[in-house]
């Protein structure tokens, strides 16, 4: 099976500084891929390259079958994105937000109508869909932001610390949504600082100083570092005390 995300020796230099140093990995269809690393390890740079916002200095990356360096527009059409800020327009209603994001992804009127009905039904938003987003609770905003990231049926969705600032119960519910999307065949590319969430991923990579220092399923990584939690794996790598 052809991987949905294929990265080969991808590098990005800013002057003398190497933000991402020849990283390589593959992510398969429907996989939940955890992309971990301390702040400044190069995660954001890598994500920006994969989403067509930054041109790589060297190496290649294919997302949904398109080259990020030369086919950025096609890449953009096939990916969804959600960040910690949830990026909804607070002064628009839920319905208007749905219509706006449907609109800028070029969906037809009928598609927007069907999918907004789908979102409203799924999250039981019928009673609040005409309320301004700033008046609804954070947990709902998070779910809505995720639904909007999927509105154009992307092949890959990038989640940049999507659970920041929400409570553990809401986080758990949010992971149910992620599993559901993955079961539908959407590839999930997620960054997080919560190591318990790293355990939920199918596979994780850990970046340190622009390099991928570890890559594998959570149980493989724990086994090879001989610890019993992803947190311990991360501590070992990020602090540079790993001797492997």
């Amino acid at each position: 099976m052809e991987p949905v995300v294929k990265v080969e020796n991808l590098s990005k230099k800013f002057g003398e500084f190497i933000a991402t140093n020849a990283i390589s990995f593959e992510v398969n269809k429907g996989e939940i891929f955890g992309f971990l690393g301390a702040n400044g390890a190069g995660k954001t740079t890598a994500m920006r390259m994969l989403s067509g916002l930054l041109t790589p200095s060297s190496g290649q990356a294919f997302v949904a079958g398109f080259d990020v360096a030369t086919q950025a527009e096609l890449v953009k059409k096939n990916i969804g994105y959600m960040s910690q800020k949830f990026s909804l327009y607070e002064d628009l209603t839920i319905q208007e937000n749905i219509e706006f994001y449907g609109g800028i992804y070029g969906l037809s009127r009928q598609e927007i109508k069907d999918r907004s009905k789908g979102i409203v039904d799924k999250f039981q938003l019928a009673s609040v869909k005409n309320k301004l987003v700033k008046t609804i609770p954070l947990g709902w905003k998070q779910k809505l932001a995720f639904a909007l990231a999927l509105i154009h049926k992307p092949k890959v969705v990038f989640l940049d610390e999507p659970t920041g600032g929400v409570d553990p119960i809401t986080r758990r519910q949010f992971w149910d949504l992620i599993y559901e999307a993955a079961n539908d065949g959407v590839t999930i590319f997620i960054t997080t600082h919560y190591m318990d969430e790293a355990e939920y991923c199918d596979r994780v990579s850990i970046m340190v100083d622009g390099l991928i220092k570890a890559l594998g399923t959570p149980s493989e990584l724990k086994k090879s570092f001989d610890v019993d939690s992803m947190d311990a794996v991360f501590q070992l790598l990020a602090r540079g005390t790993a001797n492997k």
Partner: protein, 365 residues
Amino acid sequence: MKKFYAFVQKEFYHIFRDTRTMMILFALPVALVIIFGYALNNDYKNIPIGVLNQSKDQTSEKLINRIIGSGYFVVEKSLEKPQDIPSAFKLGKIKLVLYFPAHFQKELYHSKKAQVQLIADASDINTAINTTSYLSGIINEFNAENAREINGGIQISTRMIFNQRLLSVYLFIPGVIALILLIISALLTSVTLAREKEMGTLELLSISPISPYMIIIGKVIPYLILSLLNSFVIILLGIFIFGLPMTGSISLLIMACFVYTVASLSLGILISTRVETQQAAMFASLVTLMMPTMLLSGFIFPIESLPLPLQVISNIIPATHFIVLIKSIMIKGAGITVIWKPFIILIGMTSLFLFVSIQSLKRNN
């Protein structure tokens, strides 16, 4: 196109739901016009004056009646002798004394010239200058009307070229338009773009298939429409409430407003590429755009009265040239053959700003 439509629609939602933006768009222009029109108005009605008539003849009485009849002056006090003048001013009731020396009429008819003296309270310099100008105007009219009998003999040196009644309206309406267009175009666009940065929605937009140019154009179009609408409201207020004339071509006026608005919008974009927060955007537009426009564009202080370095700065402010254009078109009825120079300068500036802001946008991406 559908993407673009969705974007512009969203922009209008932002505008219509934000009270502050709505106030700036709809309350501020009217408030500014009213404030500058009435509060800072240099036009006078019923100015109290004193009359010292030592001649007490037919001609001087006729002239006094003519002055009262104009509606600008009321005779508050009749004085008996020149020594009374200082004390009359000290009471503060009168702004000006009209002094006919003895034998006014006799001199007028015999030697064909007679002096009439205007003495103004110069502690309020603006009022003094304006009221003497008004009075001189009336006396000159009187001279002209009675040219056959008195042969233009009443001597006054000052005279106004334009219809003096409207002088300050001439100045402030074009200035208010320049300021309002700048606030709406530059301030509001820079703030709205900075808000998208702050909220993180710009990140999302940049990952979506909508192109950066479309984002900018989509941001700018609603403000362009509202700016032009607003300038018409101000112009109409000027015409119908303050009697501003509209002698020139309307299409030329629209073109001038359009070019200036695009210049302001590109300045707004330029600011927003350099700042991260709404406050910074607001502060930057206030300090770098609004203040110079208020103070150095000839809106409040005449450019000729500025020191040379400030005159140079004045010339690189788009509003300076815009105000010249508006005045020439509306008041003097100038055509493109007369005003091509400020027009070219303004278009040149606009292209430059547009180019620089697009470059800086590209770098940002």
